[in-house]
Symmetry: C2
DNA sequence: ACCTGAACACCGTTCAAGT
DNA sequence: ACCTGAACACCGTTCAAGT
């Protein structure tokens, strides 16, 4: 019965097999190195077979990005929760969530790029991709609400604080991916960023 | 005599003509839409002609990125200086510099992407590209030094403050380019980011 | 030195045809 | 429904040959 998973490659499983191969390819040689024909070859089907599952190359990349957001969302969620269980301070949880994002970036640099290109080429706000993107970043909103409730963050405009935190997080990831920060300095930067954000947005005493 | 600039297209001017065409193409349809053959066509030379000026496609992209850093450097410099002349506060100048970066991002989104991919594909720390990149971001360092001198920033680790400011700046640009921020919210975010950075890194009283 | 033209090994996408 | 094979119009890069 376990043979079912092994055998049924060309019937029903092709879509996922292609996405798996695509993710490997992308991390190895960037999105530009990804070719539909190469994927088909790697999986052992004809070069036109992928077309049955993805109308064009971009659709495959979108599906890849969507999977990425789902995984990123899980990681951020975990970072929030596990920090909670250990009864850590809110500052630690902020830092942990940013750190989780940055770890995802270093683990899957090309995938992250793919995920955040969106709006430029493709822009359908009702797509599953956008839904996944919004869902993934939800933990950040909840953390901000919690901190506001605890009196650690000024109860100002929730959106403005979200933007700030999102900018910091993505900015750090960008610095790391472009190689503009020395790897040893990342931990310090995460700590500094958390402290700066909280201090800069603390309620007036 | 002005005919010299107009005529001498295929002798001596080709390199720049290709780069100009490349920049147009890239902003119109992304780096993926850029083809050497297409450029050659647009400029009116044979498809192999570009090879006399750029050993391969990547070399052309690198040259494009280098030009981008030179222009970005000029803009940041200007943002610093012009704000100085008007005798503005240091806070205004911080904001102005970040705003200049973000404006460059919205004006040349694809070019900016190209500029900051570096380290992943290509990584020669002694290249002219890297030199241009470092030079471009110099104004930020000078601004931090100035603010430290004026007692507005804590005289801690210069590098740590640089990383923070760079992360904020690039993060905001990233939010804008990926469409994750409403355009009307950008000005507010720039103000909030400046205030948060300065407040979060102010010297202890 | 700079450019051309042919050649080679790739692409994505379409489409009739098979199962 | 899912896949194949041929076909079409593209690529980047190399290289002998021209000027």
């Amino acid at each position: 019965m376990s043979s079912t998973t092994r055998r049924a490659y060309h019937h029903g499983n092709l879509r996922e097999a292609l996405l798996d191969a695509a993710e490997q390819s992308i991390e190895a040689s960037g999105p530009r190195g990804l070719s539909i024909r190469g994927l088909a070859r790697a999986v052992g089907v004809s070069h036109a077979a992928p077309n049955s599952h993805f109308p064009d190359r971009q659709a495959l990349l979108d599906a890849l990005a969507r999977r990425g957001f789902e995984r990123l969302g899980d990681l951020l969620e975990q970072a929030c929760l596990s920090a909670d269980v250990v009864q850590s301070s809110l500052e630690t949880r902020f830092r942990g969530t940013m750190a989780a994002f940055v770890k995802f970036a270093t683990d899957h640099p090309e995938l992250l790029d793919l995920m955040f290109v969106r709006k430029r080429a493709n822009h359908d706000p009702s797509s599953q991709l956008e839904a996944a993107a919004n869902a993934a970043l939800n933990p950040i909103s909840r953390l901000i609400d919690e901190a506001t409730g605890a009196g650690i963050l000024a109860p100002g405009d929730r959106g403005r604080q979200w933007y700030l935190l999102a900018a910091l997080t993505r900015g750090i990831a960008a610095l790391v991916l472009s190689g503009d920060i020395q790897p040893e300095a990342i931990e310090t930067l995460l700590t500094d960023a958390t402290a700066t954000f909280l201090r800069g947005n603390a309620p007036d005493p």
